[in-house]
């Protein structure tokens, strides 16, 4: 169970911008094991999204090593090692919901029958059964985001990377979707990387919380959560939960005092 899936050692990433170089990641060391639910939390500019994008080979580190399943991120990307969920649903408006979910399957060359079967299955998984024939703009924001999660799940990658997937949704929808993501994680045993700027969200979801701080983007604390894997919503009122949240908050504050 505790096989390392993602390993970063001394990872550096510098963006060349018009205002000179910006150090987005500085000396990041992190190991993510199989089946972990890892949250990255920190203020904007702390490099949490950049780190996730580096894992997905959407950004390229300028120093240090980063491996995914023992491969370089680019190789892992071509092996279709992960599904990625962005902050916005990013569904293609000219395709139906089912057509959007089928898109990565078409690209990866699944057979027609398997495309249908998998699309049905993931629609069911995110509770969108019967909405396959709708177009994205006919659904609410929460449903669109669920469809985008289904799309990332359809090809059954072992790693799921989520970049503030519920950031644009209201609190109530967000709670529901958080619960669903936890259930999904419990059922599938995937390794999940989850970027957020909400402390309760990070503590509620994760087995490992990575606290980051900006200028330069770096890790200030890594917290292994003692919470059980089964987590009803009201676990958020327990003492353990509040203690972890407190530690996260302290970590965030310490990062800020360095400025």
């Amino acid at each position: 169970m505790s096989q390392p899936v993602i390993e970063a050692k001394g990872l550096n990433l510098v963006f060349q911008t018009a205002d000179g170089p910006v150090q987005a990641l500085k000396d990041v060391d992190l190991v993510i094991n199989q089946g972990d639910f890892v949250s990255f939390i920190g203020p904007s500019g702390c490099g949490k999204t950049t780190f996730l994008r580096a894992i997905a080979a959407l950004e390229h580190p300028t120093g240090g090593t980063l491996t995914v399943n023992g491969m370089s991120p680019d190789e892992a990307r071509r092996m279709r090692a992960y599904g990625y969920v962005f902050q916005a649903a990013g569904l293609y408006p000219w395709r139906t919901i089912a057509g959007n979910i089928r898109l990565p399957l078409e690209i990866m060359g699944f057979s027609r029958a398997e495309q249908d079967e998998r699309t049905e299955r993931v629609l069911d998984l995110v509770e969108l059964k019967g909405f396959g024939k709708k177009f994205p703009w006919q659904l609410s924001g929460g449903m669109q985001q669920r469809a985008s999660i289904a799309r990332a799940l359809a090809f059954d990658a072992d790693i799921l990377l989520m970049d503030e997937p519920f950031g644009a949704l209201d609190e109530i929808v967000r709670d529901r979707l958080n619960e669903e993501v936890l259930k999904l994680w419990g059922r599938t045993g995937k390794t999940i990387g989850f970027v957020t700027h909400s402390i309760p969200e990070a503590v509620y979801l994760s087995t490992k919380i990575v606290v980051m701080s900006p200028r330069p983007g770096r890790i200030t604390d890594v917290i292994d959560s003692p919470l059980p894997r089964e987590r009803p919503l009201d676990i958020r009122d327990s003492r353990e939960f509040i203690e972890i949240a407190h530690r996260v908050r302290e970590g965030l504050r310490a990062g800020h005092q360095d400025d």
């Binding site: 990307r77 279709r80 990625y84 293609y92 898109l103 690209i107 990866m108 703009w137």
Partner: protein, 281 residues
């Protein structure tokens, strides 16, 4: 003078009728939506007819609609021959070749930033050439028949299409392109499944602009040399003979052809880009 008063009377009556229709429930129906502009169009024709007859306007200045309609009725074979020569042989092939070439060049530009810096300015330069200068040269090159007209249309259509397709290919959002990357999509897969569909609203904008340019180009190019038929030839020779009724008849055909051409593109656009916010109903 009675024709004039009759026309003015018709105008006022039709006006009142349309005001009443627009306020009534009939205007909400499909039938009502078509009826109001039809009444307006008929009014324009009746008023035109009445003014020309009542005020005794010379036919060289402005022939009455009934005279133009009569001319159309007796010259159908000529008008059809002109239409076939100018629109079917000149404008439409030129339009298709120009748009097709622009599409291929746009893909080449998209693949290579080097071409983007080289080809766009050249395209811009060609587009800036005045058609009255270009058309005689192309007539010298490609002869008097439809080939030179198609060539003029190609030149006129090419640049607006190119600019629109290049812009369209860049219209997909970064996140949508990132998604393609995370799925390990090839250039071709990403082009066909994401960037071309996303470019379609731009492409249809270009096609609509190009459709009117194609018509203008095909007609004007005939002013600089053509066989003894064609819409541009007809207009320039009939003006010389003071056959203004025939000029108007040709203009009517051109207006009709242009509207049908444009309408057809709009229909296809509605079908292809049904997902775009401007097309959702």
């Amino acid at each position: 003078m009675s024709a004039l008063w009759l026309a003015v009377g018709f105008w006022l009556a039709a006006w009142a009728l349309n005001v009443w229709l627009a306020g009534s429930r009939v205007s909400q129906t499909r039938f009502g939506k078509a009826l109001v502009p039809l009444i307006f169009g008929a009014t324009v024709l009746v008023l035109w007819e009445g003014l020309v007859r009542g005020l005794g306007v010379a036919p060289v200045i402005l022939p009455a609609p009934s005279v133009i309609a009569a001319k159309i009725a007796v010259s159908l074979p000529t008008l059809w021959q002109d239409f076939a020569q100018t629109i079917l042989k000149g404008a439409i092939p030129g339009f298709l070749i120009g748009a097709g070439a622009a599409f291929l060049v746009a893909i080449a530009i998209d693949r290579s930033p080097f071409l983007q810096r080289g080809l766009l300015p050249i395209g811009n330069f060609v587009a800036a050439l005045p058609i009255v200068g270009l058309a005689p040269i192309l007539v010298m090159w490609f002869g008097f028949d439809w080939q030179s007209k198609a060539a003029v249309v190609v030149v006129m259509v090419f640049f607006p299409m190119l600019v629109n397709i290049v812009a369209g290919l860049q219209a997909s959002e970064r996140m949508q392109r990132d998604l393609m990357a995370t799925w390990g999509a090839s250039y071709l897969q990403s082009l066909v499944r994401l960037r071309l569909p996303a470019a379609m609203p731009f492409v249809f904008n270009g096609l609509k602009i190009a459709s009117t340019l194609a018509l203008i180009g095909a007609i004007v190019a005939e002013f600089f040399g053509s066989p003894v038929y064609g819409m541009g030839f007809r207009i320039s020779t009939e003006v010389g003979r003071l056959g203004l009724d025939m000029v108007w008849a040709t203009i009517a055909v051109a207006a009709l052809a242009g509207s049908v051409f444009y309408g057809l593109i709009t229909l296809i656009e509605r079908w292809v880009t049904f997902w775009h916010p401007s097309q959702r109903h």
